[in-house]
Symmetry: D3
Subunit: 242 residues, 6 copies
């Protein structure tokens, strides 16, 4: 591994892109946040509904779920809208399931009570890392929505058990790279998406080697790099949440 490596956009191997989180950008929503990481921009809105989906009713527990989509021209060539085919792209399905699971892990669903929070994560601009940016931004939108429930005296306290944020790591020619952009992602041998709590525990870890299988030993390094890389993201979340 070459620790002197300089990446195409000038970053070091262990350097994430600059992050900016703007809260309240969709004012009709109970909570919202725009997250920008480099050239990736995701708009996250949290909507509270005062009932859970039918299959959850009567359990005394709440629900948190997510939807993920991209504007047609978020990418370098235009992709058609899912509504034309009548089905959510399978990549989007996979991503929104990941976002939903991650946010549920951060939430005390019992304390939320029988209400649901829907997180809409819409990518305005895509340059790699949209799923991890969506998780990091959606957490802010979720907390803002939950704070609004406390302000409205529907809840006594914010039903969150931890903060979560997410980042990607790539393995390319035996080098680990933090926070891949699109061009890095499309040439990596393996890529990893890591969702962690602010206490450093793992909520979700996915590693995929479409190119080359990777040795088990690399997994520990990946997790350490991710943990360090998530620090500025947790800081940006705290700043956005005031």
């Amino acid at each position: 591994m070459n620790i002197d490596l300089i990446r195409a956009d000038g970053r070091r191997w262990d350097q994430a892109r600059s992050v900016r989180i703007t809260p309240g950008c969709q004012p009709f929503a109970e909570g919202s946040a725009m997250i920008e990481m480099g050239n990736t921009t995701v708009l996250c809105a949290a909507s509270v509904e005062e009932q859970v989906p039918r299959w959850m009713q009567g359990r005394g527990s709440g629900w948190v779920t997510a939807e993920y989509d991209m504007l047609p021209r978020a990418t370098s060539s235009r992709r058609s809208r899912d509504r034309d085919s009548g089905r959510t792209a399978s990549r989007s399905q996979e991503i929104q399931r990941l976002i939903g699971r991650s946010l549920r892990a951060a939430t005390d669903l019992k304390a939320l009570g029988e209400r649901a929070v829907y997180l809409d994560c819409d990518v305005l601009q895509a340059d790699g890392g949209t799923r991890t940016a969506a998780i990091t931004g959606a957490f802010v939108a979720l907390q803002l929505a939950l704070e609004s429930l406390v302000s409205a005296q529907k809840l006594d306290s914010i039903p969150l058990v931890c903060s979560i944020a997410a980042i990607s790591v790539g393995l390319s020619n035996d080098n680990l790279l933090l926070d891949l952009d699109y061009s890095e992602d499309s040439t990596a041998d393996a890529d990893f998406n890591i969702v962690m709590t602010d206490a450093g525990s793992v909520v979700e870890f996915q590693g995929t080697a479409e190119g080359n299988p990777f040795p088990r030993q690399r997994v520990g390094e990946v997790l350490s790099l991710a943990a360090r890389g998530l620090e500025p993201l947790f800081a940006a979340q705290r700043a956005a949440l005031g």
Copy 2:
């Protein structure tokens, strides 16, 4: 008609909301513009494809068409995504057909040659007048995309025959109101959407009386008011286009 009327947001009867057009907000697109009119925000992206749809091929003529959608939380309550039902909402269909027809009227399709421009109009925030804002903003995105074709020496000159912009007028208790916001729109007796050229000709005119039929004579007044109301929009387009 009461010309001293002051509207809920402080505007006079013949006063449009302030407008801001930001070009280039989706940099991957050949042309793009964000338009804000009051609390309505629409992101417009123009994508050029070097072939026309199959049914147009071989005519030596180009095509311009539009798609319109809203983010789920652009509105005060969340609406589900069209992809879930597998069909574009009929309101969106009607609107995107209007946008497409209007932009085609501004374009010299023969001079465009056998290529197509797709205008994606996505509403980030909706407070009335989204369809007229989309037309005004999409024209900027379209011109920027056409300019990029000239820059790339694919075209000798910009194949536009005029500038177009659009605005709404309402009829409420016998008062005309320019540029309705959402609360005005939902209580008007009749509402009108007018698309005009910068020379004051009409490209599209739609008047609808779900409440009360209106006298034929009002149509002339509506058109005059719209013509005056469009002036700042044409100015904003020119500013955005540099």
Copy 3:
């Protein structure tokens, strides 16, 4: 403008095609009417349901809505059925929204009570002007259905506030033409669809210039021509309604 113009089928510029309205042609329906205008034939059926759609329930108000479709061989070449694509053609969506809005403007929805009337407008033969013929015919079907509610003592009086009918006008080489047939419609510079009450007020007015933008001044002439052209249609409605 050339007022001596003779059109391809022998009509003068301000002459509509002959109209025939046959009531009761679908006897299972609460109201029905077949309308023929030249070679355009539309079958209109009104179905009463004793409840409104879910989103309208509890408001003490009724609902009137329309569906529009064509038989596959109503046109000179066969078009496939919407059921194959799983989505209503966007042109049909736009048209059925127009029909529904127009009929609602003629109806006292409060007096109708919490029931719904569905107008099915199916084009058996299409030679231009199907949307305006559908409105004119559907009004007859609607009134017949409402009369059946009075006969059944579910209503005290017919909850209509006016009669409505519709007609098209075209602008072609600076000539106005009343009631375009298909070949005229496909070459017009601009076309207008006008829905009016029998008192001469406007319910819906749509003008579209896919070819050339038109001067504001023409709009007044269009409305006057339409008002005169609608007289025989209102007469045919009255005859059909006995």
Copy 4:
């Protein structure tokens, strides 16, 4: 079996409803016919396309197929359109497969050459026996379309090997009944649909006992009754075909 039986509408057990076949009712189609049997009305249109479906190409053989649908208010209560669910009703699927198979059995597909005929059978009014009426009417539309190919000198002779027509028989309280109307159909123990050639051979025979299984011996009687009952239908076809 009670041969003195008088049916609700006055018919004898072995008496079909009166039939009327009107050719040419959809003049844009290459062939068309409206068939009325009692209160059942079906509009049949034949469309010729100068190529076969992709899976048939290159075999030097033609194709004949059918689509079947009902207007929403053909029946005593309104049924929603298939396009809303995005799928053809399974009953319609079954019926249109039957119509297509039957017409193919009457056609010399080799002699037709690599072209396809689509038969659209749309029920305007339904009072039992729509599938058999559709077959009888569609045969007329098919022959007219094939005659048009001969007139256009695309074919030397009409590529039909026989005439076909269809009728239903019911078994009710051990009585056979020819040509069931809707009320008879819904109470029969078993019902049969028979498609035959004018020479008395069987093209398709379907017998269904949702109520009570029937003895094998009845099948012969059913076929004899159907053969006699089809005679006036073949006569009506010949009259319509001039």
Copy 5:
């Protein structure tokens, strides 16, 4: 007719393929059976639900229905899954309607009470005769599920009025052939599917001549051959049901 005919797989004209019915192969289902007839294999599962579909509620009667599908590679070339097109193949629709009707004819729906049995018939391997095998196998799954209701003391006795089984017959060069395999089926002049009770009555009879119309007289012979051919299937059912 040549009674000395030996078929490609060595069978006589009136000889069915060997049959094997394995009960209980899907242990989570209330009843299940795998049926193998030659190289055709169908997995049949019966699921009991303690309510009927909405449109049947309140009649005091039960419901039995079926679904039919094939694994993509049940056939010699792969066919895509119905879920991709969002619609059940019309052939499957036709077949599952036949299976459902046949099983309802064997069931005392009143005695079943307001509950529903769903029969899932999934073809693992297809070599002709899948619809008849599905009926024969589904009857075993149905009876096992009904027995489980008796065991659970939800019913006093098994609400079946008869046993049913099904088999095909083909007509090929004027020879009758019992139980067609795929290659025989694709070249037959006419083919018949017969569903009978163990008492020899007919539940469903379908005869189709896509090739050549057949004389009425053959129908009696077809039914006799089917009746004999069904004997080993009823025996296999009894063995499977212990």
Copy 6:
């Protein structure tokens, strides 16, 4: 962690369920295998097509992809078929993307040439671990299909770079458990799916904590346990492949 733990079905914490792989069970397919792990049964079929999907054409490279589905009664209560909703369940989407990625990692796509292999993984019985069983079984089907290409002299050698197999690990009350069955899976704090090569490298690793975030340190133990647990699966693959 309690290494003396005995699980509900008698297994030790580090003991997988018994596995059986039956090759050739769908003889029409180019390769097939049935895999049983405890009460989980998955039928895997590999279909070779001599062209790649359109978006891959012209790259000189092959494609391997997978589809995953369950029979309606594979589970303890019946689930409806995806074809009814017209969309693949999002869980199935996620799983089939995992299967496809994993098998591509084992394949030399360049050496495969411009042809595609489709792996159909259909769950006949589901008791946890269906996705991992599908991967293990699909690898056998894939290799058999590739061997058939070598036998047919379309390829010189089998284009596989390694063997792969998959297994799950759970974390429950701080205990690791190998190869979860359904009841264990639904109560685990975290679960992991691991796809490895026979050389012990990682192809895919997914860890999910819907219950409780887990410490980074556990990941190493999980991978070691999985590596040991995969040994009997690789042995069963080798046995099935002869």
